[in-house]
Symmetry: C2
DNA sequence: TATATATTTAATAGAGTTATTAATTGAATG
DNA sequence: CATTCAATTAATAACTCTATTAAATATATA
């Protein structure tokens, strides 16, 4: 409603669609609802994006890439020790998931229910991490050889980090409801887990 | 089709519905499809369960309870040390998630998208864990006081265990596709992570 | 201003969904 | 065997959703 002059209709549709898709997923979101919330005719959604699939993919690919690029944005950590670097990675990843807390579920559900999506993004993703991985991998190996860290693969470290960070936000709505936490208590748990994830992982690396 | 004599139609509908709901979630599953796969008329699904919601809730509640009861089925661990007990819990939980690998996603999506469900199950769930928690909690505290384990709450331990175990199966389909793992390689990763989760958690508990 | 182009809307076809109803078939029992 | 009740089906009402089309309106351009 009357956003028209502030920003383009196309943009308004994109933003509203993103919000609703993140909230309800692809299947439960209708172009009719998007139009209603934007305050425009339903046909306009199809005028700009032709199909609901198109609209979804536009948003999804953009978010998905953003998500992964943020994860692997590890510049300016040169001077840190491996463990400090790792601490920083865990915390940045945590913060990034926290500020996009509905995205992991969307990625997981849409991929497991419409797997064709994967092929589109496969090659785009395979490119990103390689350089960074090699660098970190070398450092990790050096620490292991020096006996300062137990033998472990970088892949395991990444899986652990990602698992802990995303699960917190996947489980929080359910667990918080079951054990009746209010908003402040939930934020407290989130803050506490942010520290715990670092402690847990770093502690576990001791030989 | 022609399952009719081997088991009741009602049962066949339940089982087929369960399979399809687990695969595609509530929204993407239609009673028409369930009937088609069972090999019966679509009205029959409604004859036995009246509404799609009813059918789903019947299945969902049963699975949900089963899931949680399995998790907290910790009898016959009396003679073990705390760490051995913990190892056993992590591994049992892992095995249970592995053999119900599509259930966590269903629980998470249906709860975050149709939260009314939660209230139905809230009190049923609050009852279960208390006894077990108190026992384990006491043992954990004893270990901490004795200086054999770093200070940590049982809640944190449980969250970590659940997070790691369910995330593996949530992420595997995506990650496995992106880095192109075949079925055997995936099983290998799963086996490896089963050990890693135990190592990781037990290691991290050292003071 | 006249004309072309882009944006927006109303209307609707066509497909699919849930749920109900009435009719049909099957099984069981007196 | 006839009757009763349960199981099953065919038909369909009432929706909702996506996508398209043609008409209306706004904007830009010459």
């Amino acid at each position: 409603m009357d956003i028209k002059n502030e920003q383009s209709m196309e943009q308004a549709i994109l933003e509203t669609a993103e919000r609703i898709f993140l909230e309800k997923g692809f299947a439960l979101t209708s172009t009719t609802e998007i139009a209603r919330e934007v305050g425009c005719n339903q046909a306009l959604v199809h005028y700009y994006f032709r199909t609901k699939d198109n609209l979804f993919n536009t948003i999804f690919e953009q978010k998905f890439k953003m998500f992964f690029e943020l994860v692997f944005n590890l510049e300016k950590l040169e001077e840190l020790s491996f463990l400090d670097k790792l601490k920083h990675i865990i915390e940045s990843h945590f913060d990034m998931v926290r500020s996009n807390s509905k995205l992991p579920l969307l990625i997981i559900t849409e991929f497991s229910r419409r797997p064709e999506q994967l092929n589109i993004l496969k090659e785009k993703l395979q490119a990103i991490p390689e350089r960074l991985f090699e660098k970190l991998n070398a450092e990790l190996d050096a620490e292991i050889v020096a006996g300062r860290i137990r033998p472990i693969s970088l892949m395991d470290l990444i899986m652990t980090t990602v698992s802990l960070n995303i699960s917190l936000f996947l489980l929080m709505p359910i667990a918080g409801e079951i054990i009746s936490l209010n908003e402040i208590q939930r934020q407290f748990v989130v803050e506490h887990r942010r520290e715990e994830h670092v402690t847990l992982i770093l502690n576990s690396l001791r030989p």
